[in-house]
């Protein structure tokens, strides 16, 4: 463990020692706990400032545009302009709204996202709470975000936001399952639910050992965060603007921050589960964590820039008819492989072969079924015939 790698921990230990001179043991723990809370808030909110800028720039560059470039050098401070403007805007509560719930819902949005950060290891030993059920906690808390959406839409008294809530819940329920299966595969191989243990088990990143689970997890978490191409609760052409339709000013800003914090959570969890977390050569662990997370975040924005929105039936079909059976099969095959060959290099290699083989088999099966099918829709979906 190099000096730079351990720097944050060294600083924390030094602080602990300093506090220990004047405070009792519980006081030290309290202050350190508070510092951790503040650090997590910073880690969750700081990316939001960067991401609002980054998303607009990535979208713009993908479309051969400049994106915001007049607010500061390269438009870097555009997030501050957004923040100041949105805070000084009028706050409207519609007459039909349930006032208490309407006010409470925006506060609820950010909480699950912030809570997930407590179990994400951001560097060697840099974790707020190393729970022994860490990843279970992350999955459970992550699905709580839908409660905020339900509260926001139901209290708005608006039929369009209500429709978007129905879509969001259907989406969450159907994508929770493949997500749980892919996480289960990881847990099976690493032999523990603790996130630190999962990271330490990844001598080879799990994305290379079981690509099916990795891609499934990534897509399912996109669906859970309501990101493109699964952002059909936002469907502008059908249901105006989604769950935050009636919110303006500061309350809308909370939804906005929640959305971008959630993107960062997708990146952080995918990094932890499949990309080897903070592990990497030369650079300190937290730098590797940041690099990998930002790479995943870029893929999220890249997909937003490219793919059109899915239809609700395509979305549900994709989950129930493809991802769930595929991951169930993957889970069983990977379990078999690691039981027979052990978790070493041989097991990893065999697992990769099995994964690719499964993908090829399913692909061939789908194509052969589609060739013999007379349904135009099936042929268009699978074979790409127009």
């Amino acid at each position: 463990m190099g000096f730079l790698d351990a720097l944050p921990l060294t600083v924390m230990d030094w602080l602990r020692g300093l506090l220990g001179q004047g405070l009792p043991a519980w006081g030290v723990e309290l202050v350190v706990g508070l510092i951790k809370v503040v650090l997590i808030l910073v880690v969750a909110i700081l990316p939001v400032i960067v991401l609002t800028w980054l998303e607009r720039k990535v979208l713009a560059r993908g479309q051969d545009r400049f994106g915001p470039n007049l607010a500061g050098p390269y438009g870097l401070v555009v997030a501050f302009a957004d923040a100041i403007k949105i805070l000084t805007k009028e706050d409207i509560i519609p007459q039909a709204a349930d006032r208490q719930v309407f006010r409470f819902a925006p506060a609820l949005v950010l909480i699950p996202t912030l809570l997930v950060f407590t179990v994400v290891p951001m560097g060697r030993g840099m974790i707020a709470a190393d729970l022994n059920v860490g990843i279970l906690f992350a999955v459970a808390i992550g699905s709580l975000a839908v409660i905020a959406i339900i509260a926001a839409t139901w209290s708005s008294g608006n039929k369009y936001s209500l429709l978007s809530m129905f879509r969001s819940v259907a989406q969450l329920v159907s994508y929770e399952l493949p997500m749980a299966f892919s996480v289960l595969t990881v847990v099976l191989v690493s032999g523990g639910l603790s996130t630190v243990r999962i990271v330490e088990a990844q001598v080879i990143p799990f994305a290379l050992v079981m690509p099916i689970a990795a891609v499934t997890y990534f897509l399912a978490s996109l669906a859970e965060a309501n990101r493109s191409p699964f952002d059909l609760l936002l469907g502008e052409s059908e249901i105006v603007a989604g769950h935050n339709l009636e919110y303006s000013g500061m309350r809308f800003a909370m939804f906005y921050i929640g959305e971008y914090a959630h993107i960062f959570v997708i990146g952080a969890l995918t990094t932890t589960l499949f990309l080897g977390g903070y592990q990497g050569p030369i650079l300190p662990g937290y730098m590797w964590f940041l690099i990998k997370t930002m790479a995943v975040v870029y893929v999220v924005l890249w997909i937003r820039c490219t793919w059109p929105r899915m239809r609700i039936d395509q979305l549900l079909d994709f989950s129930w008819k493809l991802l769930v059976p595929l991951n169930l099969a993957n889970l069983m095959l990977v379990a078999l492989v690691f039981k027979l060959a052990g978790t070493g290099l041989l097991g990893s290699l065999l697992s990769l072969v099995v994964n690719v083989g499964l993908l090829v088999a399913v692909g061939t099966f789908l194509v052969r079924r589609a060739r013999s099918s007379t349904s135009r829709r099936t042929r268009a979906l699978v074979l790409g015939e127009v």
């Binding site: 607009r56 979208l59 713009a60 479309q63 051969d64 545009r65 400049f66 994106g67 915001p68 470039n69 007049l70 607010a71 438009g75 555009v78 501050f80 302009a81 957004d82 923040a83 100041i84 403007k85 949105i86 000084t88 805007k89 009028e90 706050d91 409207i92 502008e236 105006v240 603007a241 935050n244 339709l245 009636e246 919110y247 303006s248 000013g249 809308f252």
Partner: protein, 181 residues
Amino acid sequence: MSEREIHHTLTVPETLVPEDLQRNALLTSVDSVYNWARRRSMWPLTFGLACCALEMIAAGAARYDYGRLGMDIPFSSPRQSDLLIISGTITHKMAPQLIRLWNQMPEPKYSIAMGACTVSGGTFDSYAVVQGAAELIPVDIYLPGCPPRPEALIYAFTKLHEMVGQQSVKTVSWYRKEGEA
């Protein structure tokens, strides 16, 4: 870029801040930050009425890109947008919806009447068409043209930004109660 010799009739009401307050450093810096933020993050409402809407879309696309001004998130909910670009013929059938959208937008809000039809009814001097958006809602900037070029629309944005830049937190109407001066 050549200087424009003829500057056309953009008259912005002078600031109503008293003279002793104008030298107040805190107030002016608050004003400048406030106005800068509203200039650089003015989100338009996704709202197109007729053929001018195509020109508005072109202004947002890659060739002209009003996203450079920080406007690249066209929100589809009026609750979150700051700028209403009335782009195209307002028929009497569409007038209630336009007024409703305008009323749903939270202050501070601005509007641009884009094209001859919204400025004055234009070529449609008919029973079915509203003769100018000013009959329905307060308009900040009138932009003639049939339809105006995308550059002209961005010119209207820059003029709107100038107008926003001359406002002051002390005097704007939207932080006051009804009836206050």
